[in-house]
């Protein structure tokens, strides 16, 4: 049993590369056989096939396919040193990450509805809570900064932002 497990581990030396390669392989196939033929219009008469709007996307999708296969092969054949592997993270609590995502989504969904100031305050407070920031006075920044930065954008830099919901 242990023998088969170790031989399986040896045959797949870098799982991340193999999975990434397979995902990109599927993506390039979708591009080559579905997206390019259906979502790029081609003019009826072409002087040269290289002038076609589909020419470069086709070439690139086939190159992606070839290199995705190479990545899978690289993952199977090459062992990556575990020490110093920058892809690995020492993960913290999931709650922290989820509250941060909620903060970003506040901007995405409520930026125009609530305005830059209110959505900024709400998202910043959420991100402070996610860490969490325990010094109470720091929460003053969560109000002062969105107000200050919004006014800086609107009044100094002449960049129009939705100010308030009304």
């Amino acid at each position: 049993m242990s023998l088969s497990r170790s031989s399986a581990a040896n045959s797949a030396k870098d799982t991340i590369d193999i999975v990434t390669g397979l995902v990109l392989l599927v993506l390039s196939l979708v591009l080559a056989f579905y997206l390019i033929p259906n979502y790029i219009g081609e003019p009826p008469i072409l002087q040269n096939p290289m002038m076609s709007p589909r020419w470069l996307p086709n070439i690139v999708s086939w190159l992606m396919l070839a290199f995705a296969l190479l990545l899978v092969a690289q993952g199977v054949l090459t062992k990556t040193a575990k020490e110093g592997d920058e892809r690995k993270l020492v993960k913290g609590p999931v709650r922290r990450f989820l509250v941060m995502i909620a903060g970003i989504l506040v901007y995405v969904f409520f930026f125009e509805m609530l305005g830059a100031i209110l959505s900024g305050v709400l998202a910043t407070v959420l991100l402070f809570l996610a860490h969490p920031v325990r010094t109470w006075w720091a929460y003053g920044f969560a109000i002062a900064l969105p107000v200050g930065v919004t006014l800086l954008f609107v009044n100094v830099m002449n960049v129009p932002l939705p100010l308030m919901p009304f």
Partner: protein, 501 residues
């Protein structure tokens, strides 16, 4: 004389001085905070430049770039955390010096060598950019086509780690750059009927998403680390020490200039080559790695010697040499300017005004750098838990400001996720960005060549300039493949399996 008056009129504006000073301050500040990068700061500052004059806008970004290059060394010396990859070399001698109580000396050495190297690099920029642009005036579409092919091969050198992943990232970048209306036939490409995608994917939200959002995501995904405090103690650098290091500084600056002018090589390589050269030639070579002041000087000179030189291919040929110059290229485009030989004919005064500003940035770096050493603890003591929510706010406001639409916030978020996945899978983001920028240029020049040549492919080998670029393109590919197989061989030779066998 008329030109000089026009240059001075463009340059002698209070806005330009404020922009350079502010840029350097932001760059040093951001560079000295581990986790925040100069690339991120330049990307975030881009939306602020919309309402500025072109000269002030570019100088602000160049100031951030230069400040960031130096700022990265501060944390490398004091807390053994390089603010940028290029500062990793400064750490080798800088941190041991700090541990021996000579932190201030190391910081001053880093500052003086950075400023000298930056100045030499700026001089090289002024001399070579105009010369190269003059040569490039003879280029037509086929010559530019091969130049872009050569520039695409730089992606291989930008692919730190895996060449396969770097090329995959570049192909993805090229593919996404094709979204929108086709420039020749007006056909829709991957727009899925969405009018927001008709004019291609917005560059700034993509940039912010790719380089700023993943850092924020990683901070909240990672286990919280204790906040490190640092102090710059000891005495500064003496004149005798500066004289002793001068040879290494000048040599390092020239190495930086040569490497910076070659697209894709980057500051990290320049810092390490300069360091190893200094070590090889120094009478104190046994002190290197144990706290040698010449080691810090050589690393920083190599690192900062690149800054001005990377602008040579950008200004003279319109080709970005690295990620930051790619962002600066975006800033030129936002202001309706296209860097390249034509700009030297049509906007010469603007280019010389930029040169003056870039020269001034070296002096400002000296002043700001000195202050940063003094007040560094104030900057670095801002916890990231307070900093990152503010960074996110700038990201969102900046992305929205481009077209005043929430769609761009979605684009930013989508590319943030892409950037995060890239980090987790080891796919480099720099080739993706270079591919995104060079993809349309490649296609445009290919089609223009075909139109000029009436479909005859012999136009691509029409003269000595095209032959030259064909040779260096294939030479660059051959060199990359040679390096790839060489490193494979070394890895296989040193693998534990082989050793045990």
């Amino acid at each position: 004389m008329d030109n000089l008056a026009e240059v001075l009129q463009l340059f002698l504006s209070i806005d330009n001085f404020i922009a350079i000073a502010l840029g350097v301050v932001i760059g040093v500040t951001v560079g000295s905070i581990p986790g925040l990068t100069a690339t991120m700061a330049v990307a975030l500052a881009l939306p602020f430049t919309f309402s500025m004059q072109p000269v002030a806008a570019i100088l602000l970004l160049v100031g951030i770039y230069k400040g960031g290059m130096y700022g990265g060394s501060i944390t490398a010396i004091l807390i053994r955390t390089p603010g940028s990859p290029a500062s990793a070399c400064t750490l080798l001698d800088g941190y041991p010096m700090a541990q021996q109580g000579h932190a201030k000396k190391a910081l001053k050495t880093a500052l003086f060598s950075s400023v000298i190297a930056d100045f030499i690099s700026n001089i090289a920029l002024i001399f070579f950019a105009a010369y190269l642009a003059k040569i490039a005036l003879n280029f037509g579409a086929p010559e530019f086509f091969w130049l872009i092919c050569f520039s695409l091969t730089i992606i291989i050198s930008l692919s730190s780690g895996s060449m396969v992943k770097g090329l995959l990232a570049a192909f993805m970048g090229i593919m996404l750059s094709l979204v929108g209306l086709d420039s020749v036939f007006g056909s829709q490409r991957f727009t899925f009927g969405n009018y927001n995608l008709m004019d291609s994917i917005s560059f700034i939200p993509l940039l912010i998403g790719l380089f700023a959002i993943p850092e924020i995501m990683e901070f909240y995904r990672k286990k919280a680390m204790p906040h490190l405090k640092a102090k710059a103690s000891g005495v500064g650098m003496t004149l005798v020490e500066l004289k002793r290091c001068m040879k290494s500084i000048v040599r390092g600056s020239l190495i930086g200039v040569i490497i910076g002018a070659i697209p894709g090589t980057g500051a990290t390589a320049a810092a390490f080559i300069s360091y190893s050269e200094a070590r090889r030639r120094s009478p104190n070579k046994e002190n290197f790695g144990k706290g040698e002041v010449e080691g810090v000087a050589a690393a920083e000179a190599g690192n900062n010697g690149v800054a001005g030189a990377t602008l040579i291919p950008l200004l003279s040929l319109g080709i970005p040499g690295d990620v930051i110059t790619a962002i600066i290229l975006g800033a030129f485009m936002v202001h309706g300017l296209t860097p390249g030989p034509i700009m030297f004919q049509e906007n010469l005064s603007l280019i010389y005004a930029l040169f003056l500003g870039i020269m001034l940035s070296s002096v400002i770096l000296l002043v700001v750098g000195n202050a940063a050493i003094k007040y560094f603890s104030l900057i670095a003591d801002i916890p990231k838990s307070i900093l990152f929510p503010i960074v996110l706010m700038f990201c969102v406001y900046g992305a929205y400001a481009v077209n005043n639409t929430t769609f761009d916030i979605w684009v930013m978020l989508a590319f943030g996720v892409v950037g995060y996945v890239f980090n987790r899978t080891g796919i480099p983001a720099a080739p993706f960005l270079i591919g995104f920028i060079l993809g349309p240029m490649f296609e445009d020049n290919l089609r223009r060549s075909l139109l000029i040549g009436n479909g005859d492919l012999s136009i691509f080998v029409r003269g000595p300039i095209t032959w030259f670029f064909i040779v260096i393109t294939f030479g660059s590919i051959a060199l990359a493949l040679y390096r790839f197989f060489q490193s494979r061989k070394e890895k296989t030779g040193s693998s534990p399996d082989n050793q045990s066998a």
